[in-house]
Point group: C2
Chain length 425, copies 2
């Protein structure tokens, strides 16, 4: 059985590798035609997609999944039409492939060019949302990569139909190989394990899902992984912060979409503004149903005013709540805030609210996180907000990609060197 | 014992992580002063270094290492003085840290800057050459990274002395932490295994050594690895090649330094020039003691002229000989050459010799290798030849770094975003 699965995924990976050579030199026009064709087929076949999705939803209800989980699996006509539009939007983005990133001459007359090229074959391992299937297929195609998709078992039927539609659309365009996007047609864990060892055929693995999925992939893959771990994001309100601005940023960072990785989980307040700022912001947060977990100094201030809160446990200071919960601490200085953040944050996104440019620059240079903002919400660590047009995730890695992973981050580079017969002496 | 080793390497990694925060903001002047101090101490303590090296050499002889292996371990006054000079040379290179790589505004007024920063903590696992210890320490320092070095047991004593000298030099400079470079003081494999799992403290592992070391690290590390695998490099002589140029390039690529990764191992010749070109180049190669392993067509041509050769086995076409051996094949076209290279090469370095720009551009765009040259020797895939001033190796990866890994490739980036109170709606 395991041998059979190994053969299956190996054969898929071999076909992907072959497809990757044509995709690397596919014209922008062909890639965009393929995307337009896909967008149209998604609309044409929406009944078929919805039917398969109903099957998955029935299974999910039977399996006792929560309403929130089931909502993530669900497609409906509105979501399908949005999906079709998102495919068209990617067609409009600039093609990242072929751009000359650097160009220089050496004294011996050699001309060097560093040119952006696709990575090659990318495997995406994801959980339940069916739009991820289309997203990944589309971003990989536009960036010239062959894609191998392995979705969660909860949306198995939906994914089978989507994969058929993708293949039909792509192979209708000359220059785009039918194997540009392939789905692993089984949710057996053994197939995933075998896939993660194919490091001569697959060049990059992107797990999209919860921490345990990412950890599993990292521990079992011999292929390089682009990871999208937790966001334990901090807002630090400095003593010179404009308090109205600080409050708006805290409220936005915490409550705009509490379940996502760039939401704030931690609030640090400079001691000089604690008495004045904490009551305002705490009242506004409580008003938005946020649960406050405070250190002793903050708790003392809030207790005096009868503002609802609890005492934080140590673990709260490093927790990604993904919920309407916020840990709150007082700090003595920007330097102390930096120290705490570099110790307790996950290195995803942090922001300082201050009127002092010196404090802002100190914070931005010393905080070791992917994105460090001054006077703006943590919610801006996002591919669309960066102007990338689309993203496949937000990398918490330091190699290759850090922060939003858009089309350019799905690419590698190669060096093209032109000579006139130079040899090395 | 294993617990003890795990504690040991964890404590080293924790100190490295702490050091990395100061190193990330260390001034260029401090880093250069530390390098100058190191260069001086290497000369001052050369007797001590040579004494320790003698101990290692005695052990190596006892262990029955070959003369070539022993030569790789050996330091002498000339090599030490070159080593001291190489440290000074790195001080003269531009500091990669802090450079603004991109800068743009979004319509909402946010100002984005992508800034180059160190990776953080880098572990380098290497084998026998003692100059690697200094090289890695110096390149990591200049790029603002904390380094953990784990050298081979054959140069254990030399490395202990070098590590002491590095620490003495670095800690003499204000702003450079004493833990900037640390040596793992044991060659126990269990310590390496424990090290490779510390992915929250160490951000990148660079194995420098043979294929089996790299494979071991790749299979056992949960930390991202920058790999320097084999070079099965091709020279393709097209039908319009200037034959004198082609011959010079083949000779240089094969014989200039046959034991290195950017040496040519494979020669492809267009059928139209086979009869004319092969005898010339083959005679010249045989003259340089190169063993030719040929396909049938090439063998037929050479047999007629009595030029020494043998028939190639299938495995020869994908072998990195690292020796004066060359596999030789005939091809029908540039397209066939591309197909063979994308199947049989290791994706390191390939070159086309041709007078046709169309063939050159086809070759350079379709060959999926890190460096693709036109009318120049494969030996130019090298950090110094690229003008990087120094390199820690040549990456065969596609993520992060591909090709020579210089100071800039030892860096990551972060995003600095300046706002005026923006929140996300």
């Amino acid at each position: 059985m395991t041998t059979h699965l190994t053969d299956l995924v190996t054969s898929i990976a071999q076909r992907a590798r072959t497809a990757s050579f044509s995709l690397a030199v596919a014209s922008t026009a062909s890639k965009n035609s393929a995307l337009d064709a896909l967008s149209e087929l998604i609309i044409r076949d929406s009944d078929k997609i919805l039917e398969a999705n109903q099957k998955d939803l029935a299974g999910a209800k039977e399996a006792g999944l929560s309403m929130a989980q089931i909502d993530r699996l669900t497609l409906n006509p509105v979501r399908i039409s949005k999906l079709a539009q998102s495919v068209k939007d990617v067609a409009l983005l600039p093609d990242p492939v072929g751009e000359v990133l650097e160009k220089w001459n050496q004294p011996n007359g050699l001309l060097f060019k560093k040119v952006r090229v696709p990575i090659g074959v990318i495997a995406v391992i994801f959980e339940s949302r069916p739009n991820v299937t289309i997203d990944c297929a589309v971003l990989c195609l536009k960036s010239g990569n062959a894609a191998i998709l392995r979705g969660g078992k909860e949306i198995f039927n939906t994914n089978l139909v989507l994969a058929d539609i993708i293949t039909e659309a792509f192979k209708s365009v000359s220059g785009i190989p039918a194997d540009a996007v392939q789905l692993i047609p089984t949710s057996d864990r053994a197939a995933l394990n075998a896939l993660l060892k194919l490091n001569t055929l697959i060049h990059c693995v992107i797990p999209r899902g919860g921490e345990s999925l990412i950890r599993f992939v990292t521990e079992n893959s011999t292929i390089p992984v682009i990871k999208h771990y937790n966001g334990v994001c901090f807002v630090y309100c400095d003593k010179t912060a404009d308090m109205k601005m600080a409050q708006a940023i805290v409220i936005n960072a915490k409550t705009h979409r509490p379940g996502v990785c760039n939401a704030a989980e931690q609030l640090l307040i400079h001691k000089d503004i604690l008495e004045q700022f904490l009551p305002q912001v705490a009242a506004a947060l409580v008003d938005k149903s946020v649960e406050l977990r405070c250190d002793k100094s903050c708790a003392t201030v809030l207790s005096k005013l009868g503002i609802k809160h609890s005492l934080a446990q140590l673990a709260d200071y490093t927790t990604e709540f993904l919920d309407l919960t916020l840990a709150v601490r007082v700090v003595d200085s920007t330097s102390e805030a930096i120290k705490i953040i570099n110790r307790d944050s996950s290195g995803h996104t942090e922001t300082i609210v201050t009127s002092s440019e010196a404090d802002a620059r100190l914070f931005q240079s010393c905080v070791d996180s992917a994105v460090v903002l001054w006077n703006a919400s943590t919610r801006f660590n996002d591919g669309f907000e960066f102007g990338y047009g689309a993203e496949i995730g937000i990398s918490t890695d330091r190699l290759h990609a850090r922060g939003p992973v858009g089309l350019r981050e799905l690419c590698s580079h190669k060096f093209i060197i032109d000579g006139q017969g130079q040899v090395r002496s």
